[in-house]
């Protein structure tokens, strides 16, 4: 660093954010940000409440900075920051507060958006030009203003290449003597892009400095809820403000993250309004362990389990997505979400950080007179948006003819192997005569318009010592599937108090979720989607309605009873679940001395869940019915204590140190019963079952940890971070149950240190390295156990078949996996920060991965747990932001994120080259992890070809020969992107989000069956006159045969043997979200005391701009498990559109 850089002179007061828990003034200052519309300048919409008596000015400024986005710029030599002040403000604008603070002083302030420049009126030019000889002197004068017209005091004006310079005065005027006309003047001011001007023959040089977009003091929430300056971070952290979730709502916050953050691969499931989300940060990191990130609310972990487990890829009736923990979070309570992407960011979370951390900060109250009220209401509607591209040339039937009797029509209810569609009469499954015409609207006719209505009201207020925010929210959703609903009620209370040296915070959230008839996906049984998608193409699905007869028994519609009548499922199947969830947190912070504080926190996330699923009497595949119930109690409890110390060593060096300990207990207690055969028909009680089999799944886990960190900063230019954590796990072998995780990181602000070309307004380099653990096994995985099998006779005992480690070989030597991440990145800003670029490269290696792998059943077991896996994720993340237009009332901001993750399975167990993760119904395709391939590879068969490309036929069967299992493609998209455009003009703003994923494949079960049933266009050749096949036999000799049109169905049915036929590129680009907002001018409504109001038109998932799957949405995911890459008769994807209203009183 050059000593004569102006920044050395002008002490720039930034947010030297350390630990918020250490700040003693939090309670005395509250900020309510009424950020209803981006058009307003920040200062005009930000109101602050504070109360200080006899306090140093610097403390007051510090706290305004910490609790708002304002920051102060001033020359420390010229401002008496030690002056004691008294100030009281109640929900006041900043200029009122500043007037108060600087009354009777000569300090003037200038507010430029978030910047507040302070300078004494007496500020005059310095006289450091004395060294220049008289004859060389040319005097240059001028005025420096901002691009918005304000005078800029304190701008440092130097002669380039010398140490000589002056400051502008309070009016922005300067005067400087330069040696000659070749001199170059350099104008520098923090927060503005520097400018250089060659003096030439000018005597007056007026300069307009452009505001730098650089958010140099952007503060983000990091591990353990610690707020830190973004510029100091050695790793990439992305923050999304709460506003982004409150208008175009997704019920699940995870789903709302889709497309917003580079490197975060988020997917919402098409499982209805109470469904889960799946988030993968920087690729799948564990072969068979959990891959979703840790969720943290206000610094403490919460639970994100799906009670009873995720839906499977191939399950039948009741294979539903019961909703994850994120489904219970109300987006209107969220202040911000920070995503800690890598091990380095999350290292303080130790074993749980391997997959990254999602930090949610909830809104707090603001001290004010009376009560602040916020009301947010959203109403949206949803309709199916994707329809299969079936053939409508040949209709219902078989053997090339249409049904002639009711019984035939039922037998062929899902066969479209009939005659050419000609509009003639035919007898359908309802026994009535109907025209033999294409029925293209079965999806529209079967599903309904879904409605989502969300209302949140929040109250906040309080006095200096105690503030509160209390919100109530009601979310009412109906699914596109009739009779399927989801209701969520949330209340959230946030209390903050300050009593002397004690600061307390308490959070209580209660959520009640109530879901009815969540949709099944996977197999045909009890899956209503199956009927809508597979019904013969000349049958109107409404002919099957209501699906039951006078005795309430299912009316058959096809030859296979397992393919349940969809109307019967909708009308008679009963599925209900409720989740009562309570999240409580309490913390006390005590300031032992000025630099030392101690904090204790206890948090508990507890829920109980009740699920009941009834297959009613009269169901064709289960005549006397079935009953399944699940009751789950889950508690995640954390107790943490930490000591924080901070110290400034002079002006250039400061450290923040922290040490703490945490104890985590996790309990998952599940009782389930499965029963069959209702003794009294149609009476659905657990007491009325012929057979009841109970099962329990009780898991207890404890992890104890100690951790510490040291952050050091030097002159706002170099920052270093060290962390360490040691975890002890109850679930591991006592021999190996402890592990230490270190991390180190540094960032270097290049633009502070050296002179860069003018176009570069900011440059930062960062690097970090961390080791964390993860994927700690389920409990009880280290010892072989024997469990009792429910028996009505002699006692029966089973080997290793309890519900926790179901038929898995245990491992007495398990240890946690290690995930090592190295990350390098740079943040660059160009053209007065109008163009911003973040680049990150990471290399994440997982070793000793705990692998639960399927093994040959002949081993006596289904699975084994091994500590052997190795997995690599490498990737780049790019974020490009640009202010494309900022002219008058119009602005256009754009942000583009792109991430590529290269995943590679390096090693499985000794002698294992692949492990099976999941299969489709009937094993038509597999998801395997294969050495040398990315995580989640889709495996299946192809049609055998000879070297000339001829199809090889099997003479005995007359069908093409299927190859053995081969790699077909990746189930997980390696490339993800998102593009956000924000336009604003006066009171209008428009947000458009487009996102895409590329490079993955999807295997479609619907197309397998659509082909077997004669619905896909693939099945058209040969319908009229039979199909001639030409190819070769295995020995190379030519083979031909003609498949008669009567045998065509059997021929095409066999296509299920060739997985590749149903595999498609899953890449897509979607118009994900549009929000058009009008900010209602509220000045005229002051009688109603409305502070702000806005109304928005919102839409989500509006259009697919690019896709390769003709028959379905490539995002047709129905499980939040690690097994992605199959489509299997889930609920259709929908588009939603509606209105949002936000009012503040």
């Amino acid at each position: 660093m050059k000593k004569n850089e102006p920044f050395g002179e002008l002490f720039y007061r930034s947010l030297k954010k350390t630990l918020p828990i250490m700040r003693n003034a939090i309670i005395l200052l509250f900020v309510g940000i009424l950020q209803a519309n981006a058009i307003d300048s920040y200062s005009q919409k930000t109101r602050l409440s504070l109360n200080f008596a006899d306090t140093k000015l610097v403390t007051v400024l510090d706290n305004i900075e910490s609790e708002s986005d304002f920051f102060f710029l001033y020359n420390e030599k010229l401002l008496d920051t030690e002056r004691k002040v008294d100030v009281t403000a109640n929900n006041e604008l900043i200029n009122i507060i500043l007037d108060d603070l600087f009354r009777d002083t000569d300090v003037k302030y200038t507010i430029i958006d978030h910047k507040i420049i302070l300078a004494p009126e007496s500020l005059t030019k310095t006289s450091e030009t004395s060294k220049i000889t008289e004859q060389q002197q040319i005097v240059v004068k001028g005025k420096v203003t901002s691009n918005t017209g304000e005078s800029l005091p304190g701008v440092y004006v130097t002669i380039k290449g010398t140490t000589l310079g002056v400051n502008t005065d309070i009016e922005g005027n300067y005067s400087i003597q330069v040696p000659d006309d070749k001199s170059t003047l350099l104008f520098s001011f923090i927060g503005f892009a520097p400018q250089e001007v060659v003096v030439g023959n000018q005597n007056v040089i007026n300069i307009t400095l452009s505001e730098s977009m650089l958010q140099i003091t952007e503060v983000v929430v990091t591990a353990l809820g610690i707020k830190r300056e973004k510029k100091a971070l050695p790793y990439s952290v992305s923050e999304v403000k709460g506003e982004e979730f409150t208008q175009a709502k997704e019920n699940n916050i995870g789903t709302a993250l889709v497309g917003k953050i580079a490197g975060v691969n988020a997917t919402g499931l098409n499982t209805g309004p109470g469904g889960s989300s799946r988030i993968i940060i920087r690729g799948n990191g564990s072969l068979t362990g959990a891959n979703q990130p840790l969720y943290v609310v206000n610094g403490m972990p919460i639970d994100n389990t799906t009670p009873g487990g995720s839906a499977t890829t191939n399950g039948g009736a009741g294979n539903v997505d019961r909703g994850d923990g994120m489904a219970g979070i109300n987006s209107d309570d969220i202040e911000s979400i920070s995503v800690l992407k890598g091990g380095t960011a999350a290292a303080l979370y130790g074993s749980r950080a391997a997959n990254g951390v999602i930090l949610i900060t909830t809104k707090k109250g603001v001290a004010q007179k009376g009560i602040g009220v916020e009301y947010n209401s959203t109403f949206t509607m949803e309709t199916p948006s994707i329809f299969p591209d079936w053939q409508y040339e040949y209709g219902q039937g078989d053997l090339g003819r249409k049904p002639t009797t009711k019984s035939e029509a039922i037998g062929w209810g899902r066969r479209s192997w009939g005659a050419k569609i000609d509009g003639s009469d035919y007898i359908a499954a309802d026994g009535l005569i109907h025209p033999y015409s294409a029925q293209k609207n079965n999806i529209k006719n079967f599903y309904q318009t879904a409605k989502n209505f969300t209302n949140t009201i929040a109250f906040n207020g309080g006095s200096e010592g105690l503030t509160y925010r209390f919100s109530l929210s009601d979310l009412n959703s109906s699914s596109v599937l009739p009779n399927s609903t989801y209701n969520r009620k949330t209340s959230n209370l946030n209390l903050n108090g300050k009593f002397g040296k004690f600061t307390v915070q308490a959070l209580a959230q209660y959520t009640l979720e109530d879901a009815k008839n969540r949709p099944t996906a996977g197999d045909a049984t009890g899956n209503p989607n199956w009927t809508a998608l597979m019904i013969a193409n000349t049958a109107d699905i409404r002919w099957l309605s209501p699906g039951y007869d006078a005795l309430n028994n299912e009316i058959p519609w096809n030859d296979a009873d397992v393919a349940t009548n969809g109307y019967f499922v909708v009308n008679k199947f009963q599925q209900k679940d409720t989740r009562n969830r309570f999240i409580g947190q309490a913390s006390i912070n005590y300031d032992i001395m000025e630099n030392l504080s101690v904090k204790g926190v206890v948090s508990r996330d507890f829920y109980n869940y009740n699920y009941k699923f009834i297959v009613p009497t009269g169901t064709r595949y289960s005549v006397n019915g079935n009953y399944n119930a699940l009751k789950t109690d889950v508690a995640e409890t954390n107790s943490m204590v930490n000591i924080n110390y901070k110290k400034d060593f002079g002006k250039s060096f400061n450290i923040v140190a922290m040490a703490g300990a945490n104890s985590r207990t996790y309990e998952y207690l599940e009782n389930s019963i499965s029963g069959s055969q209702f003794i009294i028909p149609y009476f659905y009680s657990q007491t009325n079952l012929n057979t009841i089999t109970p099962a329990v799944n009780n898991q207890k886990i404890e992890t104890n940890s100690i951790f510490g960190s040291v952050d050091a900063g030097y002159k706002g230019m170099v920052y270093l971070t060290f962390t360490g954590r040691n975890d002890w796990f109850s679930t591991l072998s006592p021999k190996n149950n402890s592990i230490f995780y270190p991390s180190i990181g540094g960032s270097f602000l290049l633009s502070q240190a050296v002179e860069l070309p003018e176009t570069i307004s900011f440059a930062k380099l960062r690097a970090s390295w961390a080791q964390v653990g993860g994927a700690t096994p389920d409990p009880y995985a280290i010892n072989l156990t024997y469990s009792m099998t429910p028996s009505s006779g002699i006692p029966l005992q089973d080997v290793s078949k309890n519900s926790i480690n179901n038929n898995t070989i245990t491992n007495a030597n398990l240890k946690p996996l290690t995930s090592t991440t190295a990350e390098f990145g740079m943040d660059l800003q160009f053209f007065d920060s109008k163009l911003r670029l973040d680049l990150t490269y990471y290399d994440r290696k997982t070793t000793n991965d705990i692998v639960t792998t399927a093994i040959s059943l002949a081993s006596g077991y289904n699975n084994v747990i091994l500590n052997v896996g190795e997995l690599k994720n490498k990737g780049i993340e790019t974020l490009i932001g640009a202010t494309l237009v900022k002219a008058g009332d119009f602005s256009w901001n754009t942000s583009y994120n792109l991430a590529y993750n290269k995943n590679n399975v390096v090693k499985l167990a000794e002698g294992l080259d692949q492990i099976q993760m999941a299969t489709t119904v009937n094993n038509y395709a597999y998801i395997n992890n294969i050495v040398g391939r990315p995580y989640g590879t889709i495996v299946g068969t192809r049609i055998q070809k000879d070297e000339n490309g001829n199809t090889v036929y099997n003479q005995a069967t007359g069908n093409p020969v299927a190859t053995g299992l081969q790699v077909l493609g990746n189930g997980v998209a390696p490339l993800t992107m998102g593009l956000t455009n924000n336009f604003s003009y006066k009171n209008f703003s428009l947000d458009v989000l487009i996102d895409g994923k590329f490079g993955n494949k999807v295997f479609s079960m619907m197309e397998v069956y659509g082909t077997r049933m004669g619905l896909t266009k693939l099945t058209l050749p040969g319908r009229e006159n039979g199909l001639e096949l030409n190819g070769v036999l295995a020995d190379g000799s030519p083979y031909t045969r003609t498949v008669s049109k009567e045998n065509l169905r059997i021929y095409y049915d066999n296509f299920k043997s060739y997985s590749e036929v149903f595999l498609h590129d899953g890449s897509f680009v979607k118009l994900r979200q549009i929000i058009l907002t009008y900010k209602i001018p509220v000045n005229n409504l002051s009688i109603l005391k409305i502070q702000s109001a806005s109304i928005s038109l919102v839409g989500r998932n509006l259009a697919i701009l690019y896709r390769k799957t003709k028959n379905f949405d490539p995002e047709q995911s129905y499980t939040n498990s690690s097994n992605q890459g199959f489509e299997s008769f889930g609920l259709p994807r929908t588009r939603s559109y509606g209105l949002n209203l936000m009012v503040k009183f």
Partner: protein
């Protein structure tokens, strides 16, 4: 005061951190013990489970292939139509067998083998393990045997496939050794033995009866070897009384696992509606089976089979002889007269509490008759045939009152079906094994093995479009795809040795022509 407080807090924190550090893994072992599973095996309970599991693992069988049953439905018609569209039918015996009974027997033997006091339990366990293995090898041919079920004990996750020849040698050796090891002075499995309540003599007879069954299996591939084992079995003493039939008892209510597995699966898959019209999978008795019983005026017909007839408000199961009609197996759509075809008698076949017969007096006597005509046994073939035939009729009384056949009717049937003393060897074989086919019903797995060995009864294959065998009856079941996925190297070796993994590849003892 303030300073005092501060100091105290700091000291407190340091102490508590130190305490925490020392106890960071205190109580972890207790915490990590599954409250719902025992770390200790109860060998007798696992043995009971393995008995039930092995019995259940035959319920699937191939009743359609043996032409007892059929359906118009393609998927369920796998066995009778040789169409394999989807499902696990060819794999179930493999998939269930290893993770259940094979693994369980391995654990039982591991727990008791070193205790000389438990020699009787060990012997029964060895016999039962041989029984479990023979069910699997007869379906597939070469199978994992010596390395099977060793995932936990030896860490073998990709077990090799042993040649069936070696497997047979070992199973027979096990039966022989185990039968000779019983010691009446030592304890037994007692009530946990669902077959014999721990009766040693019965176990010996079962062991020698299995030796007879397995020995006979070898007649085509190695007649000399077959002879030596058959003679050894006869010398040891096989089952010759109804009282020694190996059968698993079942219960009418409670857990599914305790119900008769055939009744349970047939009811839930097809016959629960009890009207003969709405059978979920379209199941009925096959024409060939019913025709044979009718042609021979077999009194078992009404015991086994009913036709549901309309009875005013509902349907009644009618056992009338003339009413019985088997369904042809080549239907691919539900016939209009579906309700007129015969299906299992709810009072015998579909009773949850019916016993599951595993090795019967009928089978041993009929096999002894074969031994006699081969000259391997001095008994009188005609007498043995009669004894076997009579036992085959009498055994239905184990199904309850609806299964009891009058002794007069049995005598009449025997009289009407005298042993063809003057017939050729093949004619005698035809007669013995066609009778055994009926006597084995519903044990289609054993019938399938016996048919492959002897060629009797003379079954005419069904030819239905879309079949996977070119219209031929299966010669084996195929290895599951999971083996292709998870144990490919070993599977490749066995395919090279045994032949392609198809339904028509013949297993070792099923050679094309007798040697």
């Amino acid at each position: 005061m303030k300073k005092y407080l501060s100091t105290h807090i700091v000291v407190f924190l340091f102490i508590s951190t130190a305490v925490l550090l020392q106890s960071c893994d205190k109580g972890f072992e207790d915490l990590n013990t599954n409250p719902d599973a025992s770390g200790k095996i109860n060998p007798e309970y696992v043995f009971s489970k393995a008995q039930i599991d092995a019995a259940r693992n035959q319920a699937y069988g191939t009743p359609g292939t043996m032409q007892y049953t059929t359906t118009f439905n393609e998927v369920a018609g796998f066995g009778s139509k040789y169409i394999f569209l989807q499902g696990n039918a060819p794999y179930v015996v493999f998939n269930n067998g290893y993770v259940r009974e094979i693994n369980e027997m391995g654990e039982v033997i591991r727990a008791i083998k070193d205790d000389p006091e438990l020699i009787n339990e060990l012997s029964a366990a060895r016999i039962w393990r041989a029984y479990c293995f023979h069910l699997i090898t007869d379906q597939y041919g070469d199978i994992p045997y010596s390395e099977a079920g060793a995932g936990y004990t030896k860490g073998i996750y990709k077990p090799k496939y042993d040649a069936q020849e070696d497997i047979y040698a070992d199973m027979l050796k096990e039966l022989e050794e185990a039968a000779l090891s019983f010691d009446p002075s030592k304890k037994t499995f007692g009530n946990s033995d669902l077959l014999y309540g721990g009766n040693i003599d019965s176990w010996k007879k079962l062991s020698y009866s299995l030796m007879l069954r397995l020995g006979m299996r070898l007649t085509k591939v190695d007649a000399n070897l077959a002879e030596s084992w058959v003679k050894k079995a006869i010398a040891g003493g096989v089952i010759t009384e109804d009282a020694d039939i190996a059968a698993i008892t079942s219960y009418s209510n409670g857990q599914d696992i305790n119900k008769n597995p055939i009744a349970n699966s047939w009811l839930s898959e097809d016959y629960i509606r009890a009207n003969g019209r709405d059978n979920q999978e379209g199941g009925k008795y096959q024409k060939n089976f019913i025709d044979y019983l009718k042609a021979n005026k077999d009194p078992r017909l009404g015991v086994i089979s009913v036709v549901w007839v309309e009875n005013g408000t509902g349907y009644k199961a009618d056992t009338a002889f003339d009413l019985q009609k088997g369904m042809p197996s080549n239907f691919i759509n539900k016939p209009a007269d579906f309700g007129d075809y015969s299906e299992p008698n709810p009072n015998t076949m579909l009773k949850y509490e019916a016993p599951m017969l595993l090795v019967t007096n009928a089978e041993t006597n009929l096999l002894l008759a074969e031994a006699a005509i081969r000259g391997w046994y001095t008994g009188n073939a005609s007498d043995l045939f009669e004894k076997g035939t009579g036992a085959g009729l009498r055994q239905w009384s184990l199904y309850g009152s609806a299964g009891v056949i009058d002794q007069t009717k049995i005598d009449q049937y025997i009289a009407a079906h005298p042993f063809n003393e003057s017939g050729s060897f093949e004619e005698k074989m035809d007669q013995i094994h066609t009778q055994l086919w009926v006597a084995l019903f519903p044990n289609s797995m054993e019938a399938f093995s016996n048919w492959r060995r002897t060629g009797y009864p003379q079954l005419v294959p069904n030819v239905v479009p879309g079949n996977v065998t070119g219209g031929q009856i299966f010669r084996r079941m195929i290895y599951p795809p999971s083996e292709v996925n998870l144990n490919k190297e070993q599977l490749d070796i066995v395919i090279a040795r045994q032949g392609p993994n198809t339904f028509l590849t013949r297993i070792w003892w099923d050679v094309e022509t007798a040697k």
